[in-house]
Amino acid sequence: MSKRAKIQEQLSAYLDGELAPAEHRKVEEALGADASLSQELGELRAVRELLGGIPRANAPDDLAESILREAERASLVGSPAVPQSGGRLRWLRYTGVAAALVLAVCVGAMIVSQLSDADRSLEPLAFKEAADEMMREQLANAREVAALEEATSAPGRDAAEGADVVAGLPALAASTPSMDVPSMEVPGVEVAMADSVVIYTRDLESTRRNVEELLLSNAVRPAPTTEFGFHEAPTTTQANVYVAARDTEAQVQWIVYATDEQIEQIQSQLLPVQSGEGSPPDSPTLRVERDNKARIGLAYREEEAPKPDVAMGPGPREELKALGGADARDRGRSTERVPSAAPPMARGTRARRMAPGDAGVGGETAGRSVAGRVTGADAPTARIRIHTEAESARADTAVPVRSLPDSLVVASQADTQPHTQPASQPTSQPVLGSWLGQQLASLGRKGFELLDASARRRGVASQPSDTTRTLARNAPEPTPSTSHAGRAFGLRRALRAAVAANRKAAPQRPLLITLNRLGRKVEGVKAKSSEILIPRGKSLIPESTPAPNPTKRP
C-alpha cells in the first residue's frame, strides 16, 4: 500500500478526531501537500453531514408498553426471554407484577426527573407510591398463590383435568388489591377489599365465556327461580383505577354491580341523560360534558344496537376530581345528547353482550367511555364502567368498594345463555356442555402447542397435553348430556386455587376474576380485560370430584 493510500485510509479517522497525535500530524502534512486529499476530506465531511442530517425516528408511543406486556407474556408462557434461573428476576414470573411494570414505565417516563424525596409531594408521585406499594403487595400475594398453585398441581392431581392451561392460559396470579385510593375519595363509599385472580388468555372472549360457563355449570349454578351472582343483600361495587398516563393524568375506570332496586334508581337518573333533557343528575361520579369525548354503551337488544353518539366530557384530571367529588358540583357544563338506551328488557330476552372493549375502552383515544355489560341470570345484575381514556399505556388495579354511590348509570338484563345458541333454545346443562366442548376444541388446537412447549421446558411428562391434544385434534363433539366445563382446562385449577386463596385470606371477601388478553396487539386491538365478580362467600368450584370426562384417556 502506498503512502498516499495509507493516508487516505486515515482520513475518516482524522475527520473524527480518532487518530493518535503522531498519525494526526502525518495526515495534516499530507493534506497540506496534496490538494486532492483535501478535496477528498471535504467530501467525506460532506457525507458525514448528510448522514447527520437524516431525521431521527422516535419509537412508537406504545413501544414501551408492548415491551413490558411482552415481558409479561413471556413470563406467563415461559419464554426464554424471561430469566428462568438464578431467581434474580423471578418476579417476572408473577403476573401481577406486569401491571406494575406498565405503571412504572408510564409513571417513570413522566417523573423520572422528579423522583427525589424532596419532590414526593408532586402529584404524579402519589401514583408512583401507589404503584410501588401495589407492586410489593402483588409480589407477595403472587408468590403466595404461586406456591398454592404449585401445591394444587401436584403430580396426579391435575393430570386428570389437563393440568396446565390451554390457549395461553398457563398462569394464575392472585393478588389482593393493595392500593388505597389516593386522591380519590368517593363520598359515601366504603372502601373494602376483595381478592382477585388474574387470568391471561389469547382469546379473551372465549375464555370469558368459558369462565362464566364454568361458574354456571360447576359452581354457582342458578336454580331457575333464583338469582345468579350478586344476590346477597349488600351490593358490591368495584372500581378499577387506572393510574398514570404520559400526560400525568389519571384514568379512572368505574365498575358497579347493583341490585334491582339500585338499578331502578340508577336508570331513573340516567333517563334525563338518555333523552338529552338537560344535565344529568348532579352526581360526583358521572358527567357527560362537551369538551371531551365520551361514549356511553348499554346492554342493547341485539336487533337494535344503536350506534353510540359521542358526547363531550371533561378531561381526565377533571374526571378524577369529579370522582373525588370536590369540584363536580361546581361545574355547570351542559351535556350533549347521549345514545338512547334500550328500555329495560323483559326477562328472558337476550341482551347483546358488550365486552369492555366494545365500548371504546381499547379503541377510543380520548375521553370517557361508559359501557354497560350484563351479567348474571335472571337477576338483573349489571355493571357500568366509566373510563377516561388517554393516549398512552395504562395499568389498572382493582379497588373494590362497597355500597353503591347514589348515582351511576346501569343497564340490566339477563344474559346467561351461550352466545352460540339460539335465543329460543333453553339453557340447560346439555347445551352448556356442548357449547363448552366446542369452545374447548377450538381453543385446544391453539393451546396444545403451548402446552407441549411448556411441558418440554419444564421437563414434565406430556400427559397433560395429551389430553389437550386429543381434544384439540380430534375435536370431538361432546356428549350432549355431559358438561365439559373446566375439563382439560387450567381454568378449573386456576379458579380452585383462587378460591383456596380467597378462603385462606378471608372467606368473606368477594373474589374478582380478571381476564386479560395475552400477548401483543392482535389484529390491531390492544389488550383488553374483562372482569367477573364473584360475590363474597360464594364457592366457585366444588372440591368434589369433577364430572367424568369422555375425552380423557384411560
Binding site: 467525506l44 431521527r56 422516535n58 411494570l101 417513570g108
Partner: protein, 220 residues
Amino acid sequence: VTDQPSNIVAGRAADEHAETPKGAIAFEDAALVQRTRKGDMQAFALLVAKYQDRIFNLILRMCPRRAEAEELAQDTFLRAMERIGQFRGNSKFYTWLFRIAANLTISHLRRAGRVRFQSLSGPRELEGSQADALTSRMAERRQAGPPAAAMRDETRRRVERALLELDEEFRLVVILRDMENMDYGEISQATGLPSGTVKSRLHRAREALREKLADLIDTK
C-alpha cells in the same frame, strides 16, 4: 460524543424538557441496572423509556420496515432484561444494549435476505407513518419555500437510500458514528469489532457513500 446517554433524562421526556427541572435527578445507567438486577421493575422501565428512541432509530435505519423494527426493538429490551445479570459493567450499558440491538437486527436481516432491503423503489418505509412524513414536510416548509423543501426532501431520500445500499456491517458502523455520535471505542463495544476494524469499515462505508452521493456533494 455530544449526547451522553447518562445525561439523558427519561429519553423522550428529556427532549421535551431541554432543561432538567430543578431538583431533578438524572439517573445513571449503572444505578438503574443495579436496581433492575435486584428486581426493581421501575428501574427497568426507566431504562426502556430512556433508550427506546435511540434503539428504535438504530434498528429502523438498519431495517427500514417499521413493523419489523418495532419487533426488533422489543426483542432487544426483552433480551437485555433476560441477560442483564450477565452485564458486568465492563462497558457502558447503552453500548451493551446497542450491541444486542445490532446483533438481533443483523441476524434478522441476514435471515430475511439482503435483497429485500435494497429495493430500487427506495426506502419508502423509512419515512415512517404518514403522520411522520407530514410532520417532516411541514417542518421543512416552515423553514424554506417549496422548491428548497422539495430538494431537501429528495436529498434525504437519496441519503437514506444510499445508506440502505451498504452492507449491514458497514451500515451499522456508519450509523453508530454519524447518527448516534459514538466514538470508535463505543462503536467497538457496541459491535464487538476491534477498533481497527471499526476504523476501516467506517472509512470504506463513507467512501462508498461518497461515490453514491457524489452529485449531492458536488452541489453542496
